[in-house]
Amino acid sequence: MALYSEKVMDHFQNPRNVGKLDDADGIGEVGNAKCGDIMKIYIKVRDGIIADVKFNTFGCGSAIASSSMAAEMIKGKPLSEALTLTNKAVAEALDGLPAHKMHCSVLAEEAIRAAIKDYYDKNGIEYDHAQFPDAAEEEEHIHEEG
């Protein structure tokens, strides 16, 4: 029995959109090294649409696969749609993650939200703060669950 689905292994071994954007409009970083995973997502925004996205991840196979899949899912999408991306959708697109790895998909969702918030903040764009609960608090919560 394989540890991960074929899709997870594919995105882990051949990650899409890996790298950095030097001229990124928004950068989101979540996780911490002590816990063993950090995701950093860079987005380039054109007319409210995510024109390009890149990621760097320190973490396990499912963390890298979740970043890759999440990046692919928001590329070319309007910001409003990217904000609706859930960790569950990322996990489902990967044909599932083991129960104790679900937090990897949560990190991917959080990283995207953090990148979009960063874009809004940098450009003085008004947004509903309730959409972005405190990231640090969220993260602690995730790790308690783990």
Partner: protein, 397 residues
Amino acid sequence: MARTIYVDNAATTAMNEEAVAAMTPCFMENYGNPSSLHTVGQRAKEALENARAEIAGLLGAQPGEIYFTSGGSEADNQAIRSAAYVGLAKGKKHIISTAFEHHAVLYTLKKLEKEGFEVTYLDVHSDGLISAAEVEAALREDTALVTIMYANNEVGTIEPVREIGAVCRAHGVLFHCDAVQAVGHIPVDVVKDNIDMLSVSAHKFHGPKGVGLLYCRKGVPLKSLIEGGAQERNRRAGTENIAGICGMAAALRVAVSHLQENMKRESYLRDKLIAGLESIPHSKLNGHRTVRLPGNVNMCFEGIEGESLLLLLDAKGICASSGSACTSGSLDPSHVLLALGLPHEVAHGSLRLSLSEYNTEEEIDYIIREVPKVVEYLRSISPVWEELENGTRKHLI
């Protein structure tokens, strides 16, 4: 991709031919129950006692001091619980161990703490060593047991067991030693090493899984863990695993017969592998450089996480293990690496390669070629490595 390079021999080993050959007749020919009085049963009994005598001889023990178990974990559980309750009857409630024992020992001790025992977990040094003087300093009037491993399963450090045993003997305190990683790999002699109780597992030295033993020195009381029949002189109920026991005896015979030659060869491959992997920048060897098991290599690579390293190596045919949290399903990395004082973020990037006599130099060369590529790739996509390199995060190793 056809090749498989198995370098996870501290987890388990492939069986050797002699062990398989010793087991085979036990399934359909010599299938009797040693407790039966008829010919078929007594033939099995003979095989059982021959195996016991052979194993005892190879460990420096007497046959009557060997109790077969389902493996190392059971032997650890039984030895520690027995010694604790024997001590308790004399008003002794203190146990000494180390912070980096196997979980079979640590979790048994945790349960005993809940029952009212006090446990001192000695801190190991950064190389994984503990001294007999440190053990002696921790002894109390009410110390019932000292339980310290022969060699560590993750970092391979070999403890000064003989000296620790001598200290315990001098103070009249029982000494249990988890020798699961040591037996069959380095010389172990229960008499010379001053050991009262010793745990052994067959599948760590090319024997079968599901069988092990507890050595308990004559005169040391031993309580049973499993109740039932009168097997193992009333100390371990349950029909004996004859096939497993015969397989274990054969495997140990083979291992001991070429112990010195194997140690020399494996140490050479180990040191070559360590030298090759140490050429990776910001890497670190965990455990003592020389006072370590001949087949153990354990390294940390900064800026990457162990599970992803492990899986990418697996894709190249290299089967290894890691002490990262992600491989254990818990949030914390290996308690052994933390006990050596490694920071969490470094411990997450650990890789253990454990060799056996079946590994070849060509395989070691392949590993030395492939690991740096995988480390470099994972670093290239790691935000932690980026920060380490641009100076916003400090290198720890």
